[in-house]
Structures are given as structure tokens and as C-alpha cells.
Amino acid sequence: MTTVTVDGVRKEFGDETAVNGVSLTVEDGETVGIVGPSGCGKTTTLRTIAGLESPTEGRVLFDGEDVTSVPVKQREVGLLFQSYALFENMTVLENVTFGPRMQGVPEEEGRERAQRLLEMLDIEELESRMPHQLSGGQQQRVGLARALAPEPRILLLDEPMTGLDAKLKRQLRSKIAHLLDELDVTTLYVTHDQEEAMAMCDRVAVMNDGIVEQVGTPDTVYERPANEFVADFIGTTNLLSGCVENGHIDLEFTTIPTPEAYDQQGSVKVVARPEVFSIGGDDLQASIIDTFYLGEQIELLATLPNGQEITLKPQNNILVEPGEKVSIGIDTSRVHLLEDT
């Protein structure tokens, strides 16, 4: 497999700058996710790696070799779109063997490879079906097998789960993660769904407005987001304004100790995930506005003394009613501070 590097890529479409200087490395065998809101340039980045767009500026390197001007056909990338784009005129097996056939792999070997992939994805019995006879989840797996059959240097997945229902998504998520692990294939996974990216990927790159805001392991971008955008985009976040003085954060209505790692002074944004709060502590008072029963958890909406609304997912599932005033504790070891700029 291959280490893929995107080096200072810019891409303009007319007056629009879709990607504005992105550098990113996907290590050999690694699965990297790109997440971000629509229009952030994540798909353009993927298409540039695939060779479907040529960058206005910057380079794409496969194992240190510049492939920026290598056409798609010779770039040896595996592609899976949201629509799967299966060839409707071919059976499942013909779809999967298309790549090997185009590369001149002997018929027999191509078929064996295809059958092995279909087996790994639990759809070996569908090999003689036509694509339109398959469900969405089956089509997606056929598309994946087709992309993997030519043994690409990098697998590029563009929103591969978006068309599927929630339950199927969860099943396929682990199946695909397992497969990618087993094949040890370098993968770039583009999605707008940060939860999906966190579950599937070794590292996650958060993009916004054509640039990469942060790259890190799922727990890094969640626990220690680099800035407000990342904090807000990844998961649910409560951003509280405060001021650090001598190891304490003054939130105006209460004071909490700073996390150990933080040694600066001055005004900060406190990134407090909903689960750092617990009901029955003594850090602050809040009044409950609304409660949402989500099955495995209860989500609460509350107002702080300064009028700000926060979202809580207390670990101790105590039932409270809207309108109630409760005292709340904060697990200060799990809050993250951003310097206020």
C-alpha cells in the first residue's frame, strides 16, 4: 500500500476557492476521515487525490512520488461515491471484476479476487444478480468490492453511508472498518457525519471553508479541539466564556479550577461537553428548560444564571422536570480551554 500526501493544494473554480492550501498525509494502511460542513472543500480534496480535479496549486504525492499530473486511469485509486455508481448493465461479479479486467489481470485471478472480496463482505451469494435487484446496503458493498478489486494504492470513499438507514449504517460501519483493517488498505473517508468518521477512522481531519482546521485522532479532536469551530462541529459543545486567574476559571456566576495542563492566564473559552456535567454537584445553579428522553440517555436543556443555554447529558440519569432548578457539578478534568482571541 501507499502513503499519500497532499501538499499545499489549492483549487479554484472560476472565482470560487474550493480548497485553500490543504496539506494532509494519510500514512500507509491508515484510515483518515475528512469531515466538515457541505462546501468546506472535502470532496474537492478527495477528487484531487483521485485525479478527477487538477489542483490550481500544490501537489499530490504517492509514496513521495509526484502524481499530480498522472491521469485517473493510471493513478490506481479505488473510488466509492454516495450513489455507488454501479454499472447497471453488468452483474455483481462483472462489476467487481471490471477493474482487474481493465488492468489486464488474468480472468481466473480477477474472478478469484472478486469472489474473495464478496465473501469478506458477506454478499458472495449475490454475484450473479443485477445491481437493480439489490438493496442499498448490498449495492454499497458491491461498490466497495469493485473499488478494492484492482488493489488500489488508496481507497477513496465519498459519503459512502449517507444513503443508508441508521441501523444498517451501524452494522456496515463495523463490517467495513474490519475489512479495511484486514486488507490494511490506505483509506480516505469523506463524510459530513462526524460520528461516522470518529467510529471508522484512525485520524480525523476537520475542514472548514477550504482549509484544515485540525487533524488528530478521534479522541483528540473531541476532547481537545484546536479551536471553536472544531469544538462546535465535532459533537455537541457548550462554549462558556471565562477568565483564568491563578489556577481558577471565573465564569462570572461560578468559579471552577482549571484543568491541570493549562498554565496560561487571561480570558478563555471553556469547551464543556454535555457529559462533563452531573446533577447534584455544587459548581453552579441552572434551571431546566426541557428534557429529551433518548432511550439510553437523557438530554437536558438548561439556562445558566447568565442566561446562556447549555446542553447536558448527565452520567447519573436522574429524572428532572422542566422548570426545576438544579445544582450542577462540572468534571473539571474533562473540560478543555481555548485561548480567547
Binding site: 485517473v72 455508481a85 448493465n89
Partner: protein
């Protein structure tokens, strides 16, 4: 609510709808039925049953075999030319975004929108005499050329809409990433997926060419009379029965074309899983 209304008692809206439908259908079908009846009896002076005969069909085929074959040949060649030019043209118009693309798309509809008579007069003005050393006046080549001109929009339009319905861009990109060159891409992926659409367009073009009268009337010569021209002449010179028989045969050809077209579009819908 509206479903309940349909089920309970009289629905005057629905009755009105059927009445209007019946009226319109009668208006459309009556001339055809009349011609069909005349083709079998020749005239309504005697008894209908006693004068039933296929003699008029025999005469019609005997006297018009030349125009009949001429029309079929012209329609066939026209269809072929349309496919060879129209399919690549539609493909290019959909695929590439170049200057004047929108203008060209509108231009392709123009021959459909301009009255046949206007095109006919124009063509005669241009090619009625030898030009640039080419003498096309009265030739079959000129008839084929005007038929191709007149029918080209249909094949271009069906190609464009079929391509757009199969999401061809992602199909192409997938095929390219799998190592397919543009020839393999076109012959193995794109063509098989738009095949039904092209065929449907081709059947339509064939029927249109068979029935084309307006322009052909200006450019034909007695040596290459087409079926519609012969039909026109027949109603003025031949017996009513023979002309009606010829007209009925003609309707038959069109009906067969339409049935083919319907069958094709059905398979298109089915093969795409109904997701057009």
C-alpha cells in the same frame, strides 16, 4: 377525503372527465376508422359486408411498392445518420461545459420549432439549383439530408435526457478509476446504459421520417416519391378504396413503431429499477 368522494355515489367531476375523454378520443379516432372502413369496401353505396374485399390493399401495394420501399430506405438511412451524429452530439453537449453550450442546446431544438414548410422553401431556394458544384435538386440525398435535419433534435434530446438520468458522470469517473480508457468507457459502460434510450429515439426518428410530408413535398422528384407523397397523390388520382388502403397501411407502420417505443421505454424503466 377525495378518495372517499370517489367511492361514494356520483362524482360529476369524474363523469365529466370521462365524457370529455370520450369526445376527444372519438374526434381523433373517427377519421382513422373511416379510412380503415373505406379501405375495405371502397364505397358505402352497396352493402358493407357484401362488398368487403382486400383488393384495394393488393392494388395499393402493387401500385405503390416503389414509394413504399423508398420511404423505408430513406427512414433507415436517416435513422442511421441521426444516431451517428446525434448521439455523440448529445453526449458532448451534456458532458462538456464550453462556451455557447447553452446556445447550441437551444439550436438543436430549432428544426423542431420551425414549420416544415419554411424549411422546405428554404431548402429549395438553396439547393433547387446547383451550388458549389453540387447538384442536389431532386436527389434522394437531399431528401435524406432534410429528414436528418428535421429529426436530429429528437435523437439529441433523448440521448441527453438518458445520459442525465443514469448519472453518467459518476459512472465515467468510477470506470476511469478502475483503469478504463475512453473507448472502453464508452463501449462497455456508457453505451450499454443508454442503449435503450437511443433505441427509443431511433424508433421515433424512423416513424417521423416515414411520415414526413411538408419538407419532402418541396424536394422530391417523380423518381423518388415517398409514401406520404404517394398517399397525397393517391387521394387526388386513384380510387378512394386504394388510397384508403395505403393510408391504413401507413397507420399500421406508425402503430407498430409506437408499440416498439412503449416496450422499449418499459424495459428502460425496469432495468434501472424504476429509479429514473
Amino acid at each position: 377525503m377525495s378518495n372517499q368522494r370517489l367511492g361514494s355515489g356520483l362524482d360529476f367531476g369524474l363523469i365529466g372527465f370521462y365524457v370529455i375523454c370520450t369526445g376527444v378520443l372519438a374526434f381523433i379516432l373517427l377519421p382513422i376508422i373511416t379510412i380503415f372502413a373505406y379501405s375495405l369496401v371502397g364505397s358505402f353505396d352497396g352493402g358493407f359486408i357484401s362488398s368487403l374485399t382486400f383488393e384495394y390493399y393488393r392494388a395499393a401495394l402493387r401500385n405503390n411498392s416503389d414509394p413504399f420501399l423508398m420511404s423505408i430506405q430513406i427512414a433507415f438511412v436517416t435513422t442511421l445518420i441521426d444516431i451517428l451524429i446525434g448521439v455523440p452530439a448529445g453526449y458532448i453537449l451534456v458532458k462538456y461545459n464550453f462556451r455557447f453550450n447553452d446556445l447550441l442546446r437551444e439550436l438543436t431544438i430549432l428544426p423542431m420549432a420551425i414549420p416544415g414548410i419554411v424549411i422546405g422553401i428554404g431548402v429549395v431556394r438553396v439547393w433547387g439549383t446547383p451550388r458549389l458544384g453540387i447538384d442536389l435538386a431532386g436527389t434522394t440525398v437531399l431528401i435524406v439530408a432534410v429528414h436528418a435535419l428535421f429529426t436530429m433534435p429528437f435523437i439529441i434530446q433523448t440521448t441527453m435526457s438518458t445520459l442525465e438520468s443514469i448519472n453518467f458522470r459518476q459512472l465515467e469517473e468510477s470506470a476511469q478509476s478502475l483503469g478504463a480508457g475512453w473507448i472502453q468507457l464508452f463501449t462497455r459502460v456508457i453505451l450499454p446504459n443508454i442503449y435503450n434510450g437511443i433505441l427509443a429515439g431511433a424508433v421515433m426518428v424512423f416513424a417521423l421520417s416515414m411520415g414526413e410530408f411538408n419538407i419532402t413535398f418541396f424536394v422530391y422528384s417523380p423518381l423518388n416519391t415517398t409514401l406520404p407523397i404517394a398517399l397525397f397523390g393517391g387521394f387526388r388520382t386513384a380510387t378512394v378504396g386504394e388510397a384508403s388502403a395505403l393510408a391504413s397501411l401507413f397507420i399500421g407502420i406508425v402503430l407498430v413503431s409506437i408499440v416498439c417505443l412503449q416496450a422499449l421505454s418499459d424495459t428502460t424503466v425496469r432495468s434501472s429499477g424504476g429509479n429514473i
